[in-house]
Amino acid sequence: MKRIINLTINKIIYEHAVEVNTTLADFLRYELGLTGTKKGCDTGDCGACTVILDGDTVNSCLVLAVQADGAVIETIEGLSNEDGLHPLQQAFVEKGAIQCGFCSPGVIMSSKNLLDKNDNPSNQEIREGLSGNLCRCTGYTKIFEAVSSQCSDNKGGSHGKI
């Protein structure tokens, strides 16, 4: 059975008919072609499918698309624009925080949400903010460096949010 949903994804408004049992992850990936959001388990354990929904991170494999009716969603595709990479993405590139890259969209969305809420997280807060995102390649070390380079204290004193 399908239902019509309205939602905003990366500032674009969508009206779409979806099966009631389709997850948000599958909806994004297979119906909208936003394949930047990854699936590493489909059971809410890996965080690869992390997106920001109404200002909070969620595992999109655990949310039904119909539950996102009316929501404002940010996915990895919404972070960069014509001018280039988001500074956080740039930091991931420069610090070598990406290896296979399968976890990266989820890790970056969690980091973005963390920095949106707190522009100067401590190292411990960064660890906690990323605790739902598994990465098997990097040992997290360079991920921590990338996120921490975007803390306001480490950005030459600029306190602007990123």
Binding site: R29, Y30, L34, T35, G36, T37, K38, K39, G40, C41, D42, T43, G44, D45, C46, A48, T75, I76, E77, L79, S80, L85, Q89, Q90, F92, V93, E94, G96, I98, Q99, C100, G101, F102, C103, S104, P105, I108, I126, R127, E128, L130, S131, N133, L134, C135, R136, C137, T138, G139, Y140, T141, K142, I143, F144
Partner: protein, 786 residues
């Protein structure tokens, strides 16, 4: 010191911008119009006879396009080592583990395919199952494979030197037994594939693989097709760690369905299926006896090992050899014997995982090194320095150390960890421990017997002269090989990295054995270097003729032509180039002649400038049985110090920090080398402290998800100091060798030695769960008070 312009730097990876923005394409991101979805029926029993299979109900379900069993798929045997092909696409007579493949469906949606799988009716006669090595080896135990009596999949018996005689000369002899548990590689991208066939009969398989080349050969063999009619491509791959280093059932099933239906078919493993398919690190039991003299000189090693293999061989023959062979280094050890047994049982097959075969052996042996050091009152670092090999040494089993920065590694971690100050002075409950590592830099031989080159690389200059395009069949699986090869080509030609574009992971681009045995940097790196040098030479030759200058006078550096003596007048060339480019925006404005101009002129004279490179190791290794395993053109080595805190009341271990040094030869990309070290450490910590695939008595995996199978998270990862040691490897491209697998070697024993330092108890079984540690402490206390 040789000056490099591109390599030995911290280069951002070529693929990172696409991966950071979600644009990088992985297999499951690809869809095709009219694509079908495949799903497999897998055995619910660990051991059962198949009496009958009825697919009629499934076939009648609307949307189902095909249901196949061994009738359609055939019974051609395949596997990893040609010496032990023991698998068929589908089980025919019986199933041997929970998950053994029986049938598959293709349907218009995944939902229908899964429903159809449920409708396939199989009548089984359940057989008694054996789930442990001990049960499998008992007299009269149920047999998995008729051809292999006693469930013995493979055995190895080797002796180098004379161990008995050696022990007679020893003052100290230590025997210990060490047990590990089965691992899962827990890469984040689950296996996925997409097969499609074109009107001319070419089958293209896009798959999450580390080894397109071997997958291509296996598909050809199992489907009975010409190799030339099969193209295997891997897009970006979300990690593999060894498990994706062979063709899996899903890939074969997907190809069979696509060929049969003339439609694209996609298949994905669920996370549960990743655990069912397994092929990860074996469970090992090592019994090790080491003998040394009072002064610490190692004399002899007697080693016995049992591998819990699961239902099929997979990489197992190589694994059982590796487990023994790689203990001959990094220390001088004149006498070594090895008896290895790989045993079948009714669990999923184990295979190769990062540090293939050698990780637990290393963990056991490095603990014995510490025990010997303690007994003779020597610092563990000193004992290792006393015994380590040097460049030029050969082990008792004929492995040759062409470069060996072992002492630099030990000194680096000694200093980096403040060892001298901390060792022996930490309070109870806190400990510091160290260990060394040793690994091959690429397997010396292909998995099948062949004189093939192990890799080929093509480099073509674009006709405008602006870029070098590199084509390689090698497998970027996250380790950074694409970037490393682009850097190597840039260095070889003498142009900036930004002027190199690279495409990889496609069997149409050449031969490359793939990403396993820590081989790509050294091996494909050689081919990449040769291909770059080949185009460089062609450009310089044209230039030499055009400018009437001897070719030896010419050089290319940072994208410019350098003239060793005087600069000839090249204005005619420049004018010609500019005329060619009327209306273009990229006219040269430098004083120097650019590579771009030179390469355009070369094109005008010769047509497309194409360079080729290839690599095959020189003949390696001894003549004894099994000598092929362990031989390599070079060996990586490492040293590591771990600091831990053990809560004596609960047994909980916290890793406080790790200091690691790895000799990777000349580092191509520092970023990637450090990344491999840090990633290896996180995997090693997981294996040491909590990773274990747990089965129930029916042979089902109990913790088949990433919540219950616990890998290291951002909360567990300690601070890591990664120190890159650069020896100059004569057999490596620009002096480079491995880091990807060898880096995992020292982590587990360094932690074990640190835990001993903290609590005074040796724990002989992994993982070091709080319960196990607590019990060990209690047992030790009781023994002491008794």
């Amino acid at each position: 010191m040789e000056k490099f312009d591109v390599i030995r730097s911290y280069a951002p990876r070529l693929d990172a911008p696409d991966k950071a923005t979600g644009k990088a394409i992985f297999t499951d991101d690809i869809s095709r119009p009219g694509m079908l979805y495949g799903a497999m029926l897998q055995s619910p029993h660990a051991h059962a006879k198949i009496i009958s299979i009825d697919t009629s109900k499934a076939e009648r379900l609307e949307g189902v396009k095909a249901v196949i069993t061994s009738k359609e798929a055939g019974t051609i045997k395949y596997g990893v080592s040609p010496a032990r092909y023991d698998e068929t696409v589908f089980a025919t007579d019986k199933v041997r583990y929970v998950g053994d493949e029986i049938a598959a469906v293709a349907a218009t949606t995944l939902e229908i395919a899964l429903k159809a799988v449920d409708l396939i009716q199989v009548e089984y006669k359940v057989l008694p199952a054996v789930l442990t090595i001990e049960d499998a080896m008992k007299e009269g135990a149920p047999q998995l494979h008729e051809e292999f009596a006693g469930n013995l999949c493979a055995e190895v018996h080797q002796e180098f030197g004379n161990v008995e005689e050696g022990f007679k000369k020893c003052d100290i002899i230590k025997t210990t037994t060490m047990k590990s548990k089965r691992q899962d590689a827990a890469f984040i991208e689950m296996q996925a594939c997409l097969a499609e066939i074109d009107r001319r009969g070419t089958l293209t398989l896009t798959t999450s693989s580390q080894v397109p080349h071997y997958v291509q050969r296996t598909v050809a063999m199992v489907l009975g097709m010409d190799v030339g009619k099969i193209r295997v491509m891997k897009p970006y791959v979300g990690g593999g760690f060894g498990i994706k280093a062979a063709a899996n059932h899903q890939e074969l099933v997907c190809c069979i369905l696509a060929r049969m239906l003339n439609k694209p078919v996609k298949m994905n493993f669920t996370r549960e299926q990743v655990f069912k398919y397994a092929r990860a690190r074996h469970q090992f039991t090592h019994v090790i006896t080491t003998g040394a003299k009072k002064d610490g000189t190692l004399v002899a090693l007697k080693h016995e090992c049992y591998l819990d293999g699961g239902a099929y061989t997979s990489f197992g023959i190589a694994t059982v050899y590796y487990s023994g062979a790689l203990l001959s280094g990094p220390y001088k050890l004149p006498n070594m014997s090895y008896d290895g047994y790989r045993v079948y049982n009714n669990k999923p097959a184990c295979g190769a995982q990062r540090g293939h075969g050698a990780v637990i052996a290393r963990a056991a042996f490095e603990q014995q090194m510490d025990m010997i050091a303690e007994e003779i009152g020597m610092d563990p670092m000193e004992l290792r320095i006393k015994n380590m090999m040097n460049a030029g040494d050969t082990t008792c089993n004929d492995l040759n150390m062409s470069s060996f920065g072992m002492s630099e590694c030990i000194e680096a971690v000694r200093e980096g960890s403040d060892w001298d100050k901390k060792k022996g002075t930490l309070p109870k409950g806190k400990g510091i421990g160290m260990a060394c590592g040793f690994f091959v830099s690429g397997a010396g031989f292909p998995i099948y017997r062949s004189d093939t080159f192990h890799c080929t690389v093509i480099c073509k200059l674009t006709e405008d002269g602006g870029a070098a395009l590199v084509y390689t069949a090698s497998a970027e699986i996250g380790q950074g090989s694409d970037t490393a090869f682009a850097m190597i080509v840039a260095e070889a030609i003498g142009i900036p990295l930004e002027n190199v574009r690279l495409a990889s992971g496609d069997t149409d681009m050449g031969v490359d054995l793939g990403a396993y045995s820590s081989r790509q940097t050294l091996m494909t790196g050689h081919a990449a270097k040769e291909a770059g040098e080949h185009v460089r030479q062609q450009v310089l030759e044209v230039l030499a003729t055009q400018l009437n200058t001897p070719v030896e006078e010419l050089d290319i550096k940072k994208g410019f032509i350098e003239f060793k003596n005087k600069t000839p007048d090249f204005s005619a060339l420049r004018t010609r180039y500019i005329k060619e480019h009327r209306g273009w925006t990229d006219n040269p404005d430098s004083e120097k002649l650019t590579f771009k101009e030179a390469s355009r002129i070369a094109f005008l004279e010769k047509g497309s400038i194409v360079g080729t490179g290839k690599y095959r190791p020189h003949w390696l290794g001894g003549k004894f049985k099994g000598a092929a395993v362990g031989t390599s053109p070079a060996y990586g080595c490492s040293a590591q110090v771990a600091e831990v805190t053990v809560d004596i009341e609960t047994g909980q271990i916290t890793i406080d920090n790790i200091t690691d040094a790895h000799d990777c030869g000349k580092a191509i990309n520092m970023n990637s080398v450090e990344g491999q070290m840090q990633g290896s450490i996180s995997m090693g910590i997981g294996e040491a402290l909590h990773e274990e695939v747990i089965f129930n008595d029916k042979g089902e995996v109990l913790n088949n998800d990433l919540a219950e199978y616990k890998i290291v998270t951002s909360m567990d990862m300690p601070p890591v100091k990664a120190i890159v040691i650069e020896s100059d490897e004569p057999n490596g491209p620009f002096g480079a060798k491995e880091v990807g697998e060898g880096a995992i070697m020292p982590t587990i024993p360094a932690i074990l030695n640190a835990v001993y330092d903290a609590i005074g108890v040796r724990i002989s079984e992994l993982p070091l769960t709080p319960e196990r540690v607590y019990n060990a402490i209690q047992a030790y206390k009781e023994k002491k008070s008794a």
